[in-house]
Every structure is written in structure tokens, then in C-alpha cells.
Amino acid sequence: MQFPTFQQLIQHIIYGITVGGIYALVAMGFTIIYNATDVINFAQGGFVMLGAMIMVSLNTTLNLPMPLAFFLSILIVTAIGIIFERAAINPVKNASVITLIIITVGASIFFSGIALPIWGQDPIYAKPFSSGDPVSFLGAKISLQQLWVLGITAVIVVAVQLFYKYTIIGKAMRATAINRTAARLMGINVRLMVLCSFALSAAVGAGAGMAIAPVAHASYDMGSMLGLKGFCAAVLGGLGNGVGAVVGGFTIGIIERLAIGFAPLGYSGYKDAVAFIILLVILFLKPSGLFGTSQK
């Protein structure tokens, strides 16, 4: 056991919150689709990767200003999400859990299979959103991009909540999530709501990818690990629970970082196991997650 100083502890927690925000967004993406369709979308990491890569390409290759590249990238990935739903999810009716899992896994392989020839194997450099010195906080340093990650996470989380609460489509999507048959009887076009949930989920995923790209390595396979960790976060919070997904994301991010901080030297490589051990513990003790009610 090594004991980090207070300053190091704060530094680890800040890192944890940054990564946790990304996990939270990925977990939200899982939740949005799961609520509408009962599908666990293993291609969620693909949206994250595509968001990051497309933004970097628009910004560096086409020389578009960063904000424009950011919003264009969201639009493109949202369109990809819509096409994915129309092409691969919509035609399958009454499929078993395992069939749907394999379809979404196939999509995730497809996304990285497209990204590999386009962007190559090596990570590409993503410019930070703004340049400047890191900010000091309780003796720890926060880079500006970390602040951007937190800000973008907060904006997306709040925006999605407002969308669900105050727009008619958001309300219809919530109704669909609660009871599909009842929603249909109320005249809600359930199939359209499924499509909307894929679009929204893809947009949220792309946002996560773009925010993290300058901090982490943006590469064709960046989505797979982020996707799996976000998936653990979604289960920890209670599958299908939006608030739970966000809390689960931050919890896993912080615990993972603290595990690195406290691990004896040479053991920090086990950090990738932390999220999955949390996943197993929560499934064995309380499968409905921290915030979940009983399974639906």
C-alpha cells in the first residue's frame, strides 16, 4: 500500500471525475436505448469513437473552426445512429436477447472496421478546445480540457433531462419507456420513439467522445473500453435509470482512479479490472443497481 499525499488524492479524484463524466455520458447512451427498446447497444462505444474522430478530421483536415466541427460531428453521428437503427435494429422483430447483442456487436466491429482504414492504427492528435495554463484547485492542477469535459458532461446531462421533461417528443419517449403498449394506445408512434432514442443516444455518445479526445488517445479502438466501462456504470446505477447512470459513471471513474492511487507499485495495471469487479459485485448483491427499482 502506498499512501498518496492530500494533494495527490485531490489530483486523483479530479482525474476520476473527468473520466467518470465520460463514463456517465456513455452510460446515459446505454440507458436511453435500453429504455426504449430493451436492447443493450454494444455499439455505443462506436458512437463515442466516431464523434471524436470525425470532429478531429473536420477540425484539422477541413480546417473548420472547433465549435462548428463539434456540432457538425454531433449531426453526422446522430445520422449514423438513425441509419443504424433503420438498417439493423428496426428490421429485426421479436429477436432474442442474444441475437440483438450479436447485431450490436456486429455494428461495433463494423464501426471500428470503417475507422481503421480511414484514420489508421495510431492515435490521432486532438487539439484541446482552448489553450491556457492549468487551473489550481486545493493544490491540485486541473487542465482546461478537464474543465471542458466536466462542462460538456453537465450541459449534456441537463439538456437531456430538460428534453425528457419539457418537450413533447421527450415526454412521448418517457411514456414509451414506462409502458410500450400503453404508449401505443395513447397514440404515440413507438417505432418513431425508438428511432429518436437511437438518435439521442448517438448524439450523447458523440459528445462524450469529442470531449475526451484531447485528454485520451483518439484512435479507432478507443470506443471499446469506454463502452464497456460505461456499460458497468449503467448497471451500477440501475439499468434504465438515467440519474443512476450518471452517478454510476462518476462512481466508477473515481473508484478506478483511487485504486490506481492506492495500489502498490506495479499493480496499477489492474485498474481495468476495477469496473468489472464492481459490476460483478453489484450483480451478485443487488442486480437492480444502486437506484433501480425491481426489474421490469
Binding site: 450479436i102 456486429g106 472496421g113 482504414p117 506495479g266 468489472f276 451478485f284
Partner: protein
């Protein structure tokens, strides 16, 4: 399954055996024979997964973990403690069975998505542990210098391609035959009852929890057998094969072949093991095509190839058989 007369039900096994015996001599290409040896190893795991998924209705996205535990355990016992491969393999299989038993009890209480996630989590934890084994293997890339199996003074190392091929397939066919006997036994009927409806099965007196753990352990044992053979055939193992990607490929082999059909499992394994080899013609786009094929097959034939081919066969049969055509018209 219809009760066939006793000799008839062995016909597919005999045909498979004949094809397998002819193949290496007809092919003559060492690389192709090695791929078929790998097919044999995967067949063992896929047959076990097929029992678990198709007959008992449980999902596992973590079987590469058992494959890896078997391989690393046997390899480490052999390299570090100098145990002969046969002994280390047997200990590794028993060890894997023990782990599967302890993991299986809490895991198999879960259903559907939650079961899939728990097995996925288990597989990833195993993968991380195997990836950080360098303190034990003294090699950051994997475990090297594993001794090959020896039988009557013959070494089954990588230069003895035919020997590895036949050893793999003799064991694989033995596992196939054992599994077919299980599905036609009292235990097999219990599995099918669990798949049909757990509530109904349990009210008929089937001890669901016990049978589920049993089939889970059995499928893990098959994976461990494949793992031991893999380790001593290749003589070098790296953690990268023992991860989620492989687990999902194995599950896909079951589904593409057709769940609940052991011959489907063999077909699915052959196709998916060869697919990456065929896709090399697409060069850098091979991964993309692999993804597309997975989606297309699942969208258009969710029951797998064997199921689809059977319906196709029946349709053709009824078209060309005048009696049934008359019935349809009438």
C-alpha cells in the same frame, strides 16, 4: 428430436469422421490443416456453449475466460513446476471446473441481460489478470516455452501438424458424442425443460439451480480442455486471444450454426474460423466486412444456418413433391 433407430443416428458422426480423416490428406497445406486444428479446439468450446445456450437457455459472454484459465493454468504448471503436460492439463481442467462452479452459483441466478453482463464482467476480469501475468511468466508478451504433449516418445509440437490435427479432432469428436448422449438423456431433457420454461420445469420437480450450474461447469470444462490443447500445441500463449472478442465470436458460432443443434455448432465454428481467412481478400476492409456479415446473418437468419437450411429444404421438398403441392392447391 425424433428417436432414430440406433444405427441411423450415428450416420452424421460417421460422415463427419470420414471428412475429417480425408481433409488433411486432400488439403496437403500445413497452414490450412493448422486452421482446421483451431476449428477442432473451438468446436469443443462451442459444443459446450451450445449445451448451455441452446439446451439450457443460458447466455455466457465470458467463455474465453475459461479457455484462458485452462491454457494459462496448464502452461504455468508445466513451465514453472515442470509437471508433464498431461498432468498439468488434468489439474488445469479440474481447477477451471472449480472456478466455474463457484462463479456459476451466484451468476446463474441472474437472467437474460443481467446474466450476459455478469459473464462478460467475469471474462474481462480474467483477461485483465492474464494480461498482468508478467510477474509470473517473466515475459511481458505472454507465456513461452510450454512443452508439447508427448505420447510413446512422439512429440506433438508445432512441426507435427498432422499429429496435432488428429489429436484435436479425436477429442473434439469424443466431446461431440458425449454431448449428444447427454442431450438425449434424462439430464438433457431437464435442460430442454429449463429452456422451455423455468417455472414449469421447477414445478415438475427439476432442480433448476443444480442443472444450470452443472451444464455451466461442463461447458467450462470443454473450454478448459481446448485451452490446455491450445497452450501445448502453440507452446506460447498471449492474453489477447482470451478476451471479450473471442467470447463473442464463440457465442456467434453457436447462434450462426443454430442454437440447440449440435451439428449447427460444428458448422458455425467452421464458417466463423475460416471467415477471417477468406476475408483477407478484402485487405484492410476485412474487419468491416466481418461486422457487416455478423449483422446480416443475424437480421435475416436469427435461427441460424441449420434452421434456415432445414426450412429451405422443406420448402423445396414440398414444391417438387406432387402430393403436397396438390394438397396446397386443394
Amino acid at each position: 428430436m425424433i428417436k432414430d433407430s440406433s444405427y441411423k443416428k450415428h450416420i452424421p458422426t460417421v460422415i463427419l469422421a470420414i471428412i475429417l480423416i480425408i481433409y488433411p490428406f486432400a488439403s496437403g497445406n500445413n497452414y490450412h490443416i493448422n486452421v482446421m486444428t483451431l476449428v477442432g479446439l473451438y468446436t469443443m468450446i462451442v459444443v459446450g456453449l451450445n449445451l448451455l445456450m441452446g439446451y439450457a437457455g443460458q447466455i455466457s459472454l465470458g467463455h474465453a475466460g475459461f479457455f484462458g484459465i485452462g491454457a494459462y493454468c496448464s502452461g504455468l504448471l508445466n513451465v514453472k513446476m515442470g509437471l508433464p503436460p498431461w498432468i498439468s492439463a488434468i489439474i488445469a481442467i479440474i481447477f477451471t471446473a472449480g472456478i466455474a462452479y463457484f462463479i456459476g452459483i451466484p451468476t446463474l441466478k441472474l437472467k437474460g441481460h443481467y446474466l450476459a453482463m455478469a459473464t462478460l464482467g467475469f471474462g474481462e476480469v480474467v483477461h485483465v489478470i492474464l494480461s498482468k501475468m508478467d510477474w509470473l511468466t517473466d515475459n511481458p508478451d505472454g507465456l513461452a516455452d510450454i512443452k508439447p504433449f508427448g505420447l510413446f516418445g512422439i512429440k506433438f509440437d508445432s512441426s507435427f501438424v498432422m499429429g496435432q490435427y488428429f489429436m484435436a479432432w479425436i477429442i473434439a469428436v469424443a466431446i461431440l458424442v458425449i454431448s449428444m448422449n447427454i442431450t438425449n438423456s434424462r439430464v438433457g431433457r431437464a435442460f430442454k425443460a429449463i429452456h422451455g420454461s423455468e417455472t414449469a420445469a421447477s414445478s415438475m420437480g427439476v432442480n433448476i439451480a443444480k442443472y444450470k450450474v452443472q451444464v455451466f461447469v461442463l461447458s467450462a470444462v470443454y473450454a478448459a480442455v481446448a485451452g490446455c490443447l491450445y497452450a501445448h500445441f502453440r507452446q506460447f500463449i498471449a492474453p489477447s486471444i482470451f478476451q471479450l472478442h473471442t467470447s463473442i465470436t464463440l457465442v456467434t458460432m453457436v447462434v450462426i450454426g443454430g442454437q440447440g443443434n449440435i451439428w449447427g455448432a460444428v458448422l458455425g465454428t467452421v464458417l466463423l474460423t475460416w471467415l477471417p481467412e477468406w476475408l483477407t481478400v478484402a485487405e484492410e476492409y476485412d474487419i468491416m466486412f466481418y461486422g457487416i456479415l455478423l449483422m446480416v446473418v443475424m437480421i435475416f437468419m436469427p435461427d441460424g444456418l441449420v434452421g434456415r437450411l432445414t426450412t429451405l429444404f422443406h420448402r423445396l421438398w414440398s414444391r417438387f413433391s406432387p402430393r403436397t403441392q396438390a394438397e396446397e392447391n386443394g
